[in-house]
């Protein structure tokens, strides 16, 4: 064994330079360049998007509770090297210049915010130096307060029992309020001033938040240390920050994973082809070594040593190119992304080495085994062929290793298992289709000359190899098409959900009698028909399950909720279980529930819900569950009552509208004309979401481009590998009198037909696979994108044909004597 290692070491350089190992090394360099490029870029973009998303929490982790959290978590986190901050938020009336306004008070510690930026200016618009909270006795206020209370620099403002000085204007802050706090302008105060305000009493509605920041590992470790977190504390991490951003993050991460996964699979296919060539070229060497008395162990040890050395060198070279590639892309991306890009982590380096080892040993081990076992005389008599049929077990092990590796790498069992499963099924389907196509081709008689005839004949004669090539090229093309389709679907869906028409103002607290006038005003100013939704303040008291009993506790129970009623199912809602009420059933007392809430409460259709609203108690039967598009920025509700129930309850109205951002007059005029109506400006929050989604879209685009380049390069490399075996045939044809043009024509015909067959199978498979991924993984509607599929087909067929003919071109211009002598 040791002798084998020594031999492998001694022969390494000559084997590498003679070309045997070089082919495999080249395939690894390419694979690592692609994987590390995608990985380096994906890693940095993921961190960047996460950083941006962290802004929404102002932290990486937040504990939120309605009661005081105490200092225990902050103290523990500080000992674990986490950044900590604290906020306390509540609604209170602020008084200034003899006027008052209901405001959202946020009391903070100086370390706030842990993520994102606070921008404070003086009343002349000059940015002022500040910590995370004003000095004691001072306040920062949002521009709306300045406008409505006519504030000036250093005016006094009273909150509760204390009077403060308005020091600055709060131009931007990270964790914009949601829920009941969102409707009022924000005031930031020092957390140590809470006591002097004296506004927090027993029963006050207050949101206490502990904020934490640190590396993902440290955060997870901290959470593990304190688990279980008491039920009354809501733990928020950046991955769970609400539908819109959470889904954006989730989808973009899944897309990065998908691109990485596809790149690795394409690289694995390419490495398998290269490993086969390596083994083919090593046959004679191996047999001679055996003739000279080398044992199986000696041969395997020698080969393994060479492969390890090759992996180390090729992976380092690939990493260099991968880093270079992503640096170029980052250079372009930097100005476009609305965020600081964190520096690249070391993770892709580990991934690259691990991938190389898995790829090389996964692909080469069946051949290593065969090389070790082959009888030398059969090789020397040229009577030995690699037949892997009997080594399916080894391939199964290699495939299993790849799956385990991908699972460890991506930590997404569903994505990896569904893609690998689908890939195996598709490869089998492609094999059957490819076999059928090649079989049908044998009946096709070309009358367009010997070039075509030979090309087609070659495909038919090499039946099993042709089918394998169709599967390999088809799968590679399919991956690229699927990636292109998914990327397009994803970006389109993001564009759609945050289109220019997304509402940016909420007006609520509109009374019945104000409705006609307000509608007339908005319709005229905005030149559109404004829709108003009833808003009923209510409380869910208890649930009476269909099976009997009474449920009195739960997340939603005894909490104030916004209810509404509708005749017809509103836009952005879809019934997923049960049925919407009809006119005939109008007398029924029914309620429709958001499917997520229904699931968390364990509700079933037919359960009875007891509500209190407007001084009356009533019971509603659950008639359906709805899927709600929460990211629509339109009024959406967990509970929708049937008209029969809701119509006569005390109610106000709410509407969401899009007011052009360059037209302040509409909102200003509205506030002046309807002072009792509460208006909420969503522009800043919307901008925050838009900026994150914009970055995610851009990142997805670039990752796609990189994966596409990697995919096409790997595909071309696979074509070049398969062209190698045509060298000898080309030389024989040349000797027998075939003109170069004819040989060229036959190669072109062969690759064109292979490309066409692969293209057709890829389009077929891509349609199935994209449909599966869109609906099951990305939660998108799927409609085949004819443009993407057509473009993928054309580019794929051209790449295979051009790369194939270029690969054979060198052979055609090599003297046949040289080729035949070498063979």
């Amino acid at each position: 064994m040791l002798k084998g290692f020594n031999h492998g070491l001694r022969k390494f350089w000559s084997d590498l330079t003679s070309g045997d190992l070089l082919i495999l090394a080249f395939s690894i360099v390419l694979a690592v360049t692609a994987i590390s490029g995608v990985s380096f870029l994906g890693d940095r973009l993921k961190s960047s998007i996460k950083q941006q998303a962290s802004v929404v929490l102002a932290a990486d982790l937040s504990f939120r509770s309605a009661s005081d959290l105490g200092a225990q978590y902050l103290e523990l986190a500080a000992t674990q090297s986490l950044g900590v901050a604290e906020t306390v938020s509540f609604l209170s009336m602020v008084i200034a210049n003899e006027d008052n306004l209901l405001s959202s008070i946020k009391a903070t510690t100086p370390s706030y915010p842990l993520r994102g930026k606070l921008v404070i200016t003086d009343f002349n618009g000059q940015v002022i130096e500040h910590a995370g909270s004003p000095k004691r006795g001072y306040l920062w206020v949002e521009p709306k307060l300045v406008e409505q209370l006519g504030l000036e620099q250093n005016n006094e403002m009273a909150i509760g029992k204390a009077t403060f000085i308005v020091e600055g204007i709060l131009q931007d802050f990270p964790d914009r309020n949601v829920g009941f706090l969102a409707f009022s302008p924000t005031v930031i105060a020092n957390i140590n001033d809470l006591d002097v305000m004296g506004v927090i009493q027993t029963g006050s509605r207050v949101v206490y938040r502990n904020l934490f920041s640190g590396s993902e590992n440290n955060i997870d470790e901290f959470l593990e240390n304190i688990e279980p977190v008491p039920a009354e504390i809501r733990v928020q991490k950046i991955d769970g920050i609400g539908d819109q951003l959470g889904r954006t993050l989730d989808r973009s991460t899944r897309f990065f994973n998908l691109a990485g996964l596809f790149t690795i699979i394409i690289a694995a296919i390419s490495s398998m082809i290269a490993a086969r060539r390596y083994a083919d070229r090593h046959l004679l060497n191996t047999s001679l070594m055996k003739v000279f008395g080398a044992s199986k162990n000696f041969i395997v040890a020698s080969q393994v040593t060479q492969l390890i050395l090759m992996i180390l060198i090729a992976t380092s070279v690939g990493l260099f190119f991968g880093y270079l590639l992503q640096s170029i892309l980052i250079g372009v991306l930097k100005d476009l992304l609305d965020a600081e890009l964190p520096s690249a982590s070391f993770k892709p380096i580990g991934i690259a080495f691990l991938t190389s080892f898995c790829l090389v040993f996964g692909a080469a081990s069946p051949y290593l085994k065969l090389l070790g076992e082959a009888e030398p005389i059969r090789i020397l008599r040229n009577d030995f062929q690699f037949k892997l049929k009997n080594n399916l077990a080894i391939y199964a092990v290699a495939l299993f290793t790849l799956v385990v590796f991908l699972l460890l790498l991506f930590e997404d069992i569903f994505l990896v298992s569904s893609i690998m499963g689908a890939m195996i099924i598709l490869a089998s389907v492609l094999y059957v289709i490819g076999s059928l196509m090649v079989y049908l081709l044998s009946f096709f008689q070309s009358s367009s000359g010997i070039g075509w005839k030979l090309g087609l004949k070659n495909i038919v004669h090499r039946r099993s190899e042709s089918v394998l090539q169709i599967v390999v090229f088809g799968l590679s093309l399919m991956f690229l098409m699927v990636l292109a389709e998914t990327r397009t679907g994803l970006i389109d869906s993001w564009k759609e959900t945050l289109s220019e028409d997304t509402p940016n103002y909420f007006f609520f607290n509109i009374q019945d009698y104000e409705l006609p006038e307000i509608k007339a005003y908005l319709d005229q100013e905005l030149d559109s028909a404004t829709v108003f939704t009833p808003l009923i303040r209510g409380r869910l008291l208890s649930v009476q399950p269909k099976e009997g009993g009474l449920m009195k506790s739960g997340e939603m129970i005894d909490r104030e909720s916004n209810l509404t009623w509708y005749d017809a199912i509103p836009d952005n809602n879809q019934v997923v279980e049960g049925s919407w009420w009809t006119d005939d059933a109008g007398s029924q007392m029914e309620v429709s529930i958001d499917s997520g809430i229904a699931a968390s409460m364990g509700l079933s259709i037919g359960d009875q819900l007891n509500f209190a609203a407007g001084g009356t108690n009533f019971t509603a039967i659950v008639s359906n569950f709805r899927e709600v598009t929460w990211e629509s920025f339109a009024p959406n509700f967990f509970f929708v009552l049937s008209p029969e129930l809701g119509r006569d309850l005390p109610q106000s109205f709410i509407t969401s509208v899009k007011i052009p951002t360059d037209n302040n007059q509409v909102s200003k005029g509205f506030v002046e004309r309807f002072p009792t109506v509460t208006s909420v400006d969503l522009n800043a929050a919307l901008q925050q979401v838009r900026s994150i989604i914009g970055s995610a879209s851009l990142a997805v685009q670039y990752i796609f481009i990189l994966a596409l380049i990697a995919g096409i390069l790997t595909l071309i490399a696979s074509v070049f590998s398969s062209a190698d075996q045509r060298k000898k045939e080309s030389a024989i044809l040349h000797t027998l009198g075939a003109k170069r043009s004819k040989i060229f024509q036959s190669a072109a015909a062969e690759f064109l037909v292979l490309g066409l067959l692969s293209g057709f199978t890829a389009v077929f498979a891509a349609t199935l696979f994209s449909g599966f991924l869109s609906t099951q993984v990305f939660d998108l509607n799927y409609k085949p994108n004819i443009f993407v599929l057509g473009l993928g087909f054309t580019v794929g067929v051209l790449s295979i044909s051009i790369a194939g003919t270029l690969a054979i071109r060198k052979t055609i211009y090599t003297s046949p004597v040289v080729t035949l002598r070498n063979s």
Binding site: I450, T735, G737, R740, L820, S823
Partner: protein
């Protein structure tokens, strides 16, 4: 006097090597008549195969000229030379050079398909029958013995009725009895089709059966 089918004038072939320019063959002059059977012998490395390749238009000399079948092939481009090979030249190699994925019949049909000849299948079957392999037409090279492979190669070489057939060590990979059968087959082609036969060989028994024998040593023709 027979008509000259191949004229070799002052042929020299040099190649670059790490040690400098290496002369493979030097100043060779030869004239071969139609229907001749010529053997070229010499030790390994004497330049026999290079000379054969140059005479057949597979390679070009550094100096000198070749006139093959009335065409000065040293001045022709690759395609024109291929055209001549496809029409009038046959080849038999030491290691057969059959295409492994084609059956015996398909291998023999290749030259006919390249030249666009009609009734290729019938002609190929006929050629295989002439070399005694009528029952092996659908066999693939790996299903044939060495002698059978070489017979398929001979069938492939003669299927186009070439005027000249080049054989490079045709018996070099065969046992004694197969060698004898292949030699006889080659001579019978010469007899029945009046094909000029040029054989490069180490096999002195085979060489002695030829009308003319040339010997090469260190790239020079010594007889």
């Amino acid at each position: 006097m027979k008509n000259s089918i191949l004229e070799v004038k002052n042929i020299t072939k040099e190649v670059n090597s790490p040690e400098g320019v290496l002369t493979i063959i030097k100043n060779i002059n030869l004239s071969i008549g139609s229907g001749d059977v010529v053997s070229i012998v010499g030790p390994s490395g004497s330049g026999k195969t290079t000379l054969l390749a140059i005479m057949a238009g597979l390679d070009l000399p550094t100096k000198g000229s070749i006139n093959l079948l009335g065409s000065k092939i040293t001045t022709l481009n690759e395609d024109k030379r291929s055209q001549i090979r496809g029409k009038d030249v046959g080849f038999v190699f030491q290691s057969f050079h059959l295409l492994p994925r084609l059956s015996a019949l398909d291998n023999v049909m290749l030259p006919l398909e390249i030249s666009g000849s009609e009734h290729a299948q019938e002609k190929a079957k006929d050629a295989l029958a002439r070399v005694g392999l009528e029952k092996r037409v659908q066999h693939f090279p790996n299903q044939l013995s060495g002698g059978e492979k070489q017979r398929v190669a001979i069938a492939r070489a003669m299927v186009n009725n070439p005027k000249i057939l080049f054989a490079d060590e045709p018996t070099g990979n065969l046992d004694k009895s197969s060698s004898k059968a292949v030699s006889e087959l080659l001579f019978s082609v010469n007899q029945s089709m009046d094909t000029t036969l040029i054989i490069v060989t180490h096999d002195l028994i085979l060489a002695d059966q030829c009308n003319t024998l040339h010997e090469l040593a260190e790239g020079e023709l010594i007889c």
